[in-house]
Protein backbone atom coordinates (compact mmCIF):
# COMPACT_ATOMS: atom_id res chain seq x y z
CA UNK A 1 0.00 0.00 0.00
CA UNK A 2 2.86 2.33 0.87
CA UNK A 3 4.63 1.62 -2.38
CA UNK A 4 1.45 2.28 -4.35
CA UNK A 5 0.90 5.53 -2.51
CA UNK A 6 4.43 6.65 -3.19
CA UNK A 7 3.91 5.77 -6.83
CA UNK A 8 0.73 7.82 -6.84
CA UNK A 9 2.58 10.81 -5.54
CA UNK A 10 5.29 10.21 -8.10
CA UNK A 11 2.88 10.22 -11.02
CA UNK A 12 3.11 13.59 -12.74
CA UNK A 13 -0.46 13.21 -14.01
CA UNK A 14 -1.67 13.63 -10.46
CA UNK A 15 -0.03 17.02 -10.11
CA UNK A 16 -1.43 18.98 -13.00
CA UNK A 17 -4.73 20.14 -14.36
CA UNK A 18 -8.05 20.61 -12.62
CA UNK A 19 -7.74 17.22 -10.91
CA UNK A 20 -4.14 17.75 -9.84
CA UNK A 21 -2.96 18.13 -6.29
CA UNK A 22 -2.32 21.90 -6.35
CA UNK A 23 -5.79 22.61 -7.70
CA UNK A 24 -7.45 20.23 -5.24
CA UNK A 25 -5.56 21.71 -2.31
CA UNK A 26 -6.58 25.21 -3.33
CA UNK A 27 -10.22 24.16 -3.61
CA UNK A 28 -10.03 22.50 -0.23
CA UNK A 29 -8.48 25.53 1.41
CA UNK A 30 -11.11 27.65 -0.28
CA UNK A 31 -14.02 25.76 1.29
CA UNK A 32 -12.29 25.83 4.67
CA UNK A 33 -11.50 29.52 4.53
CA UNK A 34 -14.97 30.51 3.41
CA UNK A 35 -16.67 28.39 6.05
CA UNK A 36 -14.31 29.60 8.75
CA UNK A 37 -14.85 33.24 7.87
CA UNK A 38 -18.61 32.87 8.10
CA UNK A 39 -18.36 30.85 11.30
CA UNK A 40 -16.18 33.54 12.90
CA UNK A 41 -18.68 36.23 12.03
CA UNK A 42 -21.44 34.21 13.66
CA UNK A 43 -19.69 32.64 16.62
CA UNK A 44 -17.28 35.26 17.95
CA UNK A 45 -19.80 37.96 18.80
CA UNK A 46 -22.02 35.42 20.56
CA UNK A 47 -19.12 33.97 22.51
CA UNK A 48 -17.94 37.43 23.54
CA UNK A 49 -21.38 38.56 24.56
CA UNK A 50 -22.11 35.52 26.69
CA UNK A 51 -18.63 35.41 28.19
CA UNK A 52 -18.72 39.10 29.01
CA UNK A 53 -22.15 39.28 30.56
CA UNK A 54 -22.15 35.80 32.04
CA UNK A 55 -25.74 35.55 30.86
CA UNK A 56 -27.03 32.76 28.64
CA UNK A 57 -24.10 30.45 29.25
CA UNK A 58 -26.30 27.42 29.76
CA UNK A 59 -28.15 28.19 26.58
CA UNK A 60 -24.93 28.68 24.66
CA UNK A 61 -23.38 25.46 25.83
CA UNK A 62 -26.58 23.55 25.19
CA UNK A 63 -27.06 25.05 21.75
CA UNK A 64 -23.41 24.43 20.97
CA UNK A 65 -23.83 20.78 21.81
CA UNK A 66 -26.92 20.43 19.67
CA UNK A 67 -25.23 22.09 16.74
CA UNK A 68 -22.27 19.78 17.20
CA UNK A 69 -24.62 16.83 16.93
CA UNK A 70 -25.94 17.99 13.57
CA UNK A 71 -24.58 15.48 11.06
CA UNK A 72 -22.59 17.36 8.49
CA UNK A 73 -23.60 14.94 5.79
CA UNK A 74 -27.26 15.50 6.62
CA UNK A 75 -26.90 19.25 6.54
CA UNK A 76 -24.99 19.19 3.28
CA UNK A 77 -27.46 16.92 1.51
CA UNK A 78 -30.42 18.81 2.89
CA UNK A 79 -29.06 22.13 1.71
CA UNK A 80 -28.13 20.64 -1.61
CA UNK A 81 -31.75 19.72 -2.16
CA UNK A 82 -32.96 23.07 -0.87
CA UNK A 83 -30.57 25.24 -2.85
CA UNK A 84 -29.91 22.99 -5.81
CA UNK A 85 -26.33 24.23 -5.68
CA UNK A 86 -23.33 22.31 -4.47
CA UNK A 87 -21.03 25.01 -3.12
CA UNK A 88 -23.43 26.79 -0.77
CA UNK A 89 -24.68 23.44 0.49
CA UNK A 90 -21.21 22.26 1.35
CA UNK A 91 -20.27 25.59 2.92
CA UNK A 92 -23.39 25.64 5.09
CA UNK A 93 -22.55 22.18 6.35
CA UNK A 94 -19.02 23.26 7.18
CA UNK A 95 -20.12 26.46 8.87
CA UNK A 96 -22.41 24.44 11.09
CA UNK A 97 -19.41 22.32 11.95
CA UNK A 98 -17.11 25.24 12.74
CA UNK A 99 -19.43 27.38 14.81
CA UNK A 100 -19.47 25.32 18.02
CA UNK A 101 -15.71 25.11 18.63
CA UNK A 102 -15.17 28.78 17.83
CA UNK A 103 -18.07 29.81 20.03
CA UNK A 104 -17.01 27.55 22.88
CA UNK A 105 -13.41 28.78 22.70
CA UNK A 106 -14.44 32.41 22.68
CA UNK A 107 -16.90 32.00 25.49
CA UNK A 108 -14.58 29.92 27.63
CA UNK A 109 -11.73 32.34 27.01
CA UNK A 110 -13.63 35.37 28.18
CA UNK A 111 -15.30 33.46 30.97
CA UNK A 112 -12.05 32.15 32.36
CA UNK A 113 -10.36 35.51 32.68
CA UNK A 114 -9.33 35.73 36.33
CA UNK A 115 -12.24 37.22 38.26
CA UNK A 116 -9.82 39.44 40.16
CA UNK A 117 -8.59 40.93 36.93
CA UNK A 118 -12.11 41.61 35.70
CA UNK A 119 -12.90 43.10 39.05
CA UNK A 120 -9.85 45.32 38.87
CA UNK A 121 -10.90 46.45 35.39
CA UNK A 122 -14.27 47.60 36.68
CA UNK A 123 -12.56 49.01 39.74
CA UNK A 124 -10.32 51.33 37.75
CA UNK A 125 -13.38 52.68 36.00
CA UNK A 126 -13.52 50.83 32.71
CA UNK A 127 -16.93 50.74 31.10
CA UNK A 128 -18.34 47.48 29.76
CA UNK A 129 -16.93 47.74 26.27
CA UNK A 130 -13.59 49.07 27.45
CA UNK A 131 -13.30 46.15 29.79
CA UNK A 132 -14.20 43.72 27.03
CA UNK A 133 -11.76 45.02 24.44
CA UNK A 134 -8.92 46.17 26.64
CA UNK A 135 -8.88 43.36 29.15
CA UNK A 136 -11.06 40.37 28.44
CA UNK A 137 -10.35 39.91 24.76
CA UNK A 138 -6.55 40.15 24.93
CA UNK A 139 -6.44 37.74 27.83
CA UNK A 140 -8.95 35.40 26.20
CA UNK A 141 -7.03 35.32 22.91
CA UNK A 142 -5.19 32.05 23.49
CA UNK A 143 -8.43 30.22 24.08
CA UNK A 144 -10.25 31.98 21.27
CA UNK A 145 -7.50 30.95 18.91
CA UNK A 146 -7.55 27.50 20.44
CA UNK A 147 -11.17 27.25 19.40
CA UNK A 148 -10.31 28.47 15.91
CA UNK A 149 -7.55 25.91 15.57
CA UNK A 150 -9.94 23.23 16.65
CA UNK A 151 -12.45 24.39 14.09
CA UNK A 152 -9.85 24.43 11.34
CA UNK A 153 -8.79 20.88 12.13
CA UNK A 154 -12.35 19.70 11.86
CA UNK A 155 -13.04 21.76 8.79
CA UNK A 156 -10.05 20.41 6.91
CA UNK A 157 -10.96 16.87 7.86
CA UNK A 158 -14.60 17.24 6.99
CA UNK A 159 -14.38 19.41 3.88
CA UNK A 160 -13.97 16.06 2.16
CA UNK A 161 -17.74 15.65 2.14
CA UNK A 162 -17.90 18.44 -0.40
CA UNK A 163 -16.85 15.82 -2.89
CA UNK A 164 -20.00 13.91 -2.17
CA UNK A 165 -22.08 16.66 -3.68
CA UNK A 166 -19.84 16.81 -6.73
CA UNK A 167 -17.39 19.45 -5.62
CA UNK A 168 -13.62 19.30 -5.71
CA UNK A 169 -11.15 19.49 -2.90
CA UNK A 170 -9.13 16.65 -1.49
CA UNK A 171 -12.28 14.67 -0.78
CA UNK A 172 -12.37 13.98 -4.50
CA UNK A 173 -9.43 11.58 -4.11
CA UNK A 174 -11.18 9.84 -1.28
CA UNK A 175 -14.52 9.49 -3.04
CA UNK A 176 -13.14 8.56 -6.45
CA UNK A 177 -10.54 6.26 -5.00
CA UNK A 178 -13.16 4.64 -2.87
CA UNK A 179 -15.57 4.09 -5.76
CA UNK A 180 -13.01 2.05 -7.63
CA UNK A 181 -11.11 0.83 -4.59
CA UNK A 182 -7.94 2.55 -5.69
CA UNK A 183 -6.24 2.43 -2.35
CA UNK A 184 -3.26 4.46 -3.37
CA UNK A 185 -5.54 7.32 -4.27
CA UNK A 186 -7.50 7.10 -1.02
CA UNK A 187 -4.37 7.03 1.08
CA UNK A 188 -2.92 9.88 -0.92
CA UNK A 189 -6.06 11.87 -0.24
CA UNK A 190 -5.86 11.09 3.45
CA UNK A 191 -2.19 12.01 3.65
CA UNK A 192 -2.76 15.25 1.79
CA UNK A 193 -5.66 16.18 4.04
CA UNK A 194 -3.78 15.43 7.20
CA UNK A 195 -0.74 17.31 5.92
CA UNK A 196 -2.89 20.28 5.04
CA UNK A 197 -4.41 20.21 8.51
CA UNK A 198 -1.01 20.11 10.13
CA UNK A 199 0.29 22.95 7.99
CA UNK A 200 -2.71 25.15 8.68
CA UNK A 201 -2.49 24.35 12.37
CA UNK A 202 1.17 25.34 12.41
CA UNK A 203 0.33 28.58 10.66
CA UNK A 204 -2.30 29.32 13.26
CA UNK A 205 0.10 28.43 16.03
CA UNK A 206 2.47 30.97 14.54
CA UNK A 207 -0.31 33.52 14.40
CA UNK A 208 -1.06 32.77 18.00
CA UNK A 209 2.55 33.53 18.93
CA UNK A 210 2.27 36.86 17.22
CA UNK A 211 -1.06 38.09 18.49
CA UNK A 212 -1.20 36.72 22.01
CA UNK A 213 0.26 39.34 24.35
CA UNK A 214 3.58 38.29 25.83
CA UNK A 215 2.38 38.85 29.37
CA UNK A 216 -0.51 36.45 28.86
CA UNK A 217 1.84 33.77 27.62
CA UNK A 218 4.17 34.31 30.54
CA UNK A 219 1.28 34.11 32.96
CA UNK A 220 0.21 30.81 31.42
CA UNK A 221 3.71 29.47 31.71
CA UNK A 222 3.99 30.29 35.39
CA UNK A 223 0.55 28.86 36.03
CA UNK A 224 1.23 25.60 34.25
CA UNK A 225 4.65 25.19 35.83
CA UNK A 226 3.22 25.90 39.22
CA UNK A 227 4.90 25.04 42.48
CA UNK A 228 7.01 21.90 42.52
Amino acid sequence: MIAETVAWFGDAANWSGPGGVPARVLEHVGYVALALAIALVIAVPFGLLVGHTGRGAVLLVGAGNIVRALPTLGVVTLFFLLLAESTPAAVVGLVVLAVPPVMAGTYAGVQSVDAHVVDAASGVGMRGMQRLWQVEVPIALPMVLGGVRNAVLQLVATAAVAAYVGLGGLGRYLMDGLAILDYAEVVAGAVLTAALAVVLDLLLAGLQRIVVPRGVRLAELTRSKGPA
Binding site: G54, R68, P71, L174, A190
Partner: protein
Protein backbone atom coordinates in the same frame (compact mmCIF):
# COMPACT_ATOMS: atom_id res chain seq x y z
CA UNK B 1 -46.12 17.63 -1.94
CA UNK B 2 -45.57 19.40 1.34
CA UNK B 3 -42.93 18.18 3.70
CA UNK B 4 -45.58 17.01 6.16
CA UNK B 5 -47.29 14.88 3.52
CA UNK B 6 -43.96 13.60 2.40
CA UNK B 7 -43.07 12.61 5.93
CA UNK B 8 -46.46 10.94 6.28
CA UNK B 9 -45.96 8.84 3.21
CA UNK B 10 -42.40 8.06 4.16
CA UNK B 11 -43.17 6.94 7.68
CA UNK B 12 -46.35 5.22 6.51
CA UNK B 13 -44.40 2.23 5.28
CA UNK B 14 -43.83 -0.49 7.86
CA UNK B 15 -40.66 -1.43 6.01
CA UNK B 16 -39.39 2.11 6.39
CA UNK B 17 -40.10 2.12 10.10
CA UNK B 18 -38.32 -1.17 10.60
CA UNK B 19 -35.35 0.14 8.66
CA UNK B 20 -35.33 3.30 10.77
CA UNK B 21 -35.17 1.35 13.99
CA UNK B 22 -32.39 -0.80 12.67
CA UNK B 23 -30.49 2.25 11.49
CA UNK B 24 -30.97 4.00 14.81
CA UNK B 25 -29.74 0.99 16.74
CA UNK B 26 -26.73 0.63 14.48
CA UNK B 27 -26.03 4.33 14.81
CA UNK B 28 -26.11 4.18 18.58
CA UNK B 29 -23.82 1.20 18.67
CA UNK B 30 -21.40 2.67 16.17
CA UNK B 31 -21.22 5.94 18.08
CA UNK B 32 -21.16 4.70 21.64
CA UNK B 33 -18.95 1.65 21.55
CA UNK B 34 -16.03 3.86 20.47
CA UNK B 35 -16.66 6.07 23.50
CA UNK B 36 -15.89 3.10 25.68
CA UNK B 37 -12.72 2.21 23.80
CA UNK B 38 -11.70 5.85 23.50
CA UNK B 39 -12.02 6.38 27.23
CA UNK B 40 -9.94 3.31 27.90
CA UNK B 41 -7.27 4.60 25.53
CA UNK B 42 -7.33 8.05 27.08
CA UNK B 43 -7.09 6.62 30.57
CA UNK B 44 -4.06 4.66 29.40
CA UNK B 45 -2.56 7.78 27.88
CA UNK B 46 -3.17 9.65 31.13
CA UNK B 47 -1.32 6.90 32.95
CA UNK B 48 1.60 7.13 30.53
CA UNK B 49 1.70 10.89 30.88
CA UNK B 50 1.58 10.64 34.65
CA UNK B 51 4.31 8.03 34.86
CA UNK B 52 6.61 9.60 32.30
CA UNK B 53 5.87 13.31 32.19
CA UNK B 54 8.32 13.68 29.33
CA UNK B 55 5.98 11.80 26.94
CA UNK B 56 3.10 14.20 27.58
CA UNK B 57 4.13 16.45 24.72
CA UNK B 58 4.41 13.55 22.33
CA UNK B 59 1.04 12.15 23.33
CA UNK B 60 -0.60 15.50 22.76
CA UNK B 61 0.99 15.85 19.33
CA UNK B 62 -0.02 12.34 18.31
CA UNK B 63 -3.57 12.99 19.46
CA UNK B 64 -3.68 16.16 17.42
CA UNK B 65 -2.34 14.35 14.37
CA UNK B 66 -4.96 11.62 14.58
CA UNK B 67 -7.54 14.32 14.71
CA UNK B 68 -6.36 15.79 11.42
CA UNK B 69 -7.08 12.64 9.41
CA UNK B 70 -10.43 12.94 7.67
CA UNK B 71 -12.92 10.45 9.01
CA UNK B 72 -13.78 9.15 5.57
CA UNK B 73 -10.13 8.41 4.89
CA UNK B 74 -9.75 6.70 8.21
CA UNK B 75 -12.77 4.52 7.55
CA UNK B 76 -11.23 3.38 4.31
CA UNK B 77 -7.63 3.04 5.40
CA UNK B 78 -8.25 1.12 8.58
CA UNK B 79 -9.07 -2.22 6.89
CA UNK B 80 -5.65 -1.95 5.25
CA UNK B 81 -4.01 -1.55 8.60
CA UNK B 82 -5.89 -4.04 10.75
CA UNK B 83 -6.96 -6.49 8.09
CA UNK B 84 -10.72 -6.23 8.34
CA UNK B 85 -12.94 -6.31 5.27
CA UNK B 86 -14.01 -3.10 3.68
CA UNK B 87 -17.67 -3.30 4.63
CA UNK B 88 -16.99 -4.28 8.18
CA UNK B 89 -18.52 -2.00 10.79
CA UNK B 90 -15.44 -2.57 12.94
CA UNK B 91 -13.70 -0.04 10.72
CA UNK B 92 -16.02 2.70 11.85
CA UNK B 93 -15.75 1.63 15.46
CA UNK B 94 -11.97 1.67 15.33
CA UNK B 95 -11.84 5.03 13.59
CA UNK B 96 -14.21 6.65 16.00
CA UNK B 97 -12.39 5.11 18.96
CA UNK B 98 -9.24 6.79 17.72
CA UNK B 99 -11.03 10.10 17.37
CA UNK B 100 -12.53 9.82 20.80
CA UNK B 101 -9.18 9.02 22.32
CA UNK B 102 -7.58 11.88 20.37
CA UNK B 103 -10.21 14.22 21.69
CA UNK B 104 -9.83 13.04 25.27
CA UNK B 105 -6.07 12.71 25.61
CA UNK B 106 -5.41 16.43 25.90
CA UNK B 107 -7.98 17.22 28.58
CA UNK B 108 -7.11 13.98 30.31
CA UNK B 109 -3.44 14.95 30.61
CA UNK B 110 -4.38 18.43 31.74
CA UNK B 111 -6.85 17.14 34.28
CA UNK B 112 -4.38 14.70 35.75
CA UNK B 113 -1.76 17.40 35.92
CA UNK B 114 -4.28 19.72 37.55
CA UNK B 115 -4.95 17.46 40.49
CA UNK B 116 -3.81 19.59 43.42
CA UNK B 117 -0.24 18.90 44.42
CA UNK B 118 -1.38 18.65 48.02
CA UNK B 119 -3.73 15.79 47.20
CA UNK B 120 -1.24 13.70 45.26
CA UNK B 121 1.46 14.39 47.81
CA UNK B 122 -0.72 13.27 50.68
CA UNK B 123 -1.72 10.15 48.75
CA UNK B 124 1.93 9.31 48.21
CA UNK B 125 2.69 10.06 51.82
CA UNK B 126 -0.01 7.65 52.92
CA UNK B 127 1.73 4.86 51.12
CA UNK B 128 -0.11 4.69 47.82
CA UNK B 129 1.95 3.05 45.12
CA UNK B 130 1.78 4.83 41.74
CA UNK B 131 -0.76 2.58 39.98
CA UNK B 132 -3.16 2.54 42.85
CA UNK B 133 -2.81 6.26 43.30
CA UNK B 134 -3.64 6.82 39.65
CA UNK B 135 -6.80 4.77 39.75
CA UNK B 136 -7.81 5.60 43.30
CA UNK B 137 -7.12 9.31 43.44
CA UNK B 138 -6.07 11.03 40.25
CA UNK B 139 -8.47 9.38 37.86
CA UNK B 140 -11.59 9.98 39.94
CA UNK B 141 -10.59 13.60 40.32
CA UNK B 142 -10.19 13.89 36.56
CA UNK B 143 -13.72 12.63 36.02
CA UNK B 144 -15.36 16.04 35.68
CA UNK B 145 -12.94 17.07 32.95
CA UNK B 146 -13.10 13.66 31.34
CA UNK B 147 -16.88 13.78 31.45
CA UNK B 148 -16.94 17.12 29.69
CA UNK B 149 -14.66 15.66 27.02
CA UNK B 150 -16.79 12.55 26.70
CA UNK B 151 -19.88 14.65 26.16
CA UNK B 152 -18.25 16.46 23.29
CA UNK B 153 -16.86 13.22 21.90
CA UNK B 154 -20.19 11.43 22.15
CA UNK B 155 -22.01 14.18 20.37
CA UNK B 156 -19.47 14.53 17.60
CA UNK B 157 -19.26 10.77 17.18
CA UNK B 158 -22.99 10.64 16.71
CA UNK B 159 -22.59 13.26 14.04
CA UNK B 160 -19.58 11.57 12.46
CA UNK B 161 -21.07 8.08 12.15
CA UNK B 162 -23.23 9.38 9.32
CA UNK B 163 -20.18 9.80 7.15
CA UNK B 164 -19.78 6.05 7.33
CA UNK B 165 -22.79 5.84 5.01
CA UNK B 166 -20.42 6.72 2.21
CA UNK B 167 -18.76 3.35 2.75
CA UNK B 168 -22.00 1.55 3.44
CA UNK B 169 -21.76 1.57 7.25
CA UNK B 170 -23.46 4.60 8.55
CA UNK B 171 -26.51 4.00 10.68
CA UNK B 172 -28.76 6.95 10.13
CA UNK B 173 -26.30 8.32 7.59
CA UNK B 174 -27.99 6.01 5.05
CA UNK B 175 -31.01 8.24 5.21
CA UNK B 176 -28.93 11.12 3.94
CA UNK B 177 -27.49 9.25 1.00
CA UNK B 178 -30.89 7.82 0.21
CA UNK B 179 -32.61 11.18 0.39
CA UNK B 180 -29.85 12.71 -1.64
CA UNK B 181 -30.02 10.06 -4.36
CA UNK B 182 -33.76 10.43 -4.74
CA UNK B 183 -33.94 14.17 -4.06
CA UNK B 184 -36.18 13.24 -1.20
CA UNK B 185 -36.43 15.49 1.86
CA UNK B 186 -38.22 13.10 4.16
CA UNK B 187 -35.38 10.71 4.95
CA UNK B 188 -32.90 13.56 5.38
CA UNK B 189 -35.14 15.41 7.77
CA UNK B 190 -35.97 12.25 9.68
CA UNK B 191 -32.27 11.39 9.78
CA UNK B 192 -31.28 14.78 11.14
CA UNK B 193 -34.02 14.73 13.73
CA UNK B 194 -33.21 11.21 14.88
CA UNK B 195 -29.51 12.04 15.08
CA UNK B 196 -30.23 15.06 17.23
CA UNK B 197 -32.58 13.10 19.45
CA UNK B 198 -30.01 10.39 19.90
CA UNK B 199 -27.38 12.99 20.75
CA UNK B 200 -29.70 14.66 23.21
CA UNK B 201 -30.57 11.45 24.98
CA UNK B 202 -26.97 10.29 25.14
CA UNK B 203 -25.88 13.71 26.39
CA UNK B 204 -28.47 13.62 29.12
CA UNK B 205 -27.43 10.15 30.15
CA UNK B 206 -23.82 11.27 30.30
CA UNK B 207 -24.72 14.23 32.48
CA UNK B 208 -26.54 11.88 34.80
CA UNK B 209 -23.65 9.46 34.80
CA UNK B 210 -21.31 12.26 35.68
CA UNK B 211 -23.53 13.31 38.54
CA UNK B 212 -23.49 9.79 39.86
CA UNK B 213 -19.74 9.47 39.52
CA UNK B 214 -18.91 12.78 41.18
CA UNK B 215 -21.04 13.00 44.32
CA UNK B 216 -18.50 15.34 45.88
CA UNK B 217 -19.15 18.11 43.44
CA UNK B 218 -21.86 20.41 44.54
CA UNK B 219 -22.87 22.82 41.84
CA UNK B 220 -21.36 26.15 42.79
CA UNK B 221 -22.59 29.04 40.71
CA UNK B 222 -19.82 31.19 39.35
CA UNK B 223 -20.29 34.77 40.25
CA UNK B 224 -18.93 37.82 38.60
CA UNK B 225 -18.08 40.92 40.54
CA UNK B 226 -19.96 43.33 38.40
CA UNK B 227 -23.29 41.56 38.44
CA UNK B 228 -24.07 43.95 41.19
CA UNK B 229 -24.01 47.01 39.04
CA UNK B 230 -26.65 47.55 36.46
CA UNK B 231 -24.32 49.93 34.59
Amino acid sequence: MSLIDELGTYLGSANTRAQLWAALAEHGYLALLPILFGVVLAVGAGWLGQTWPQVRGTLAVVANLVYTIPSLALFVVIPGVIGTTILDSINVVVALSLYTAALLVRPMLDAIAAVPQAVTASATAMGYRPARRYFGVELPLAVPVLAAGVRVAAVSNISLVSVGALIGVGGLGRLFTDGFQREYYAPIVVGVVLTLLLALVVDLLLVLLRRVLTPWQRPAPTRRADEEVAA
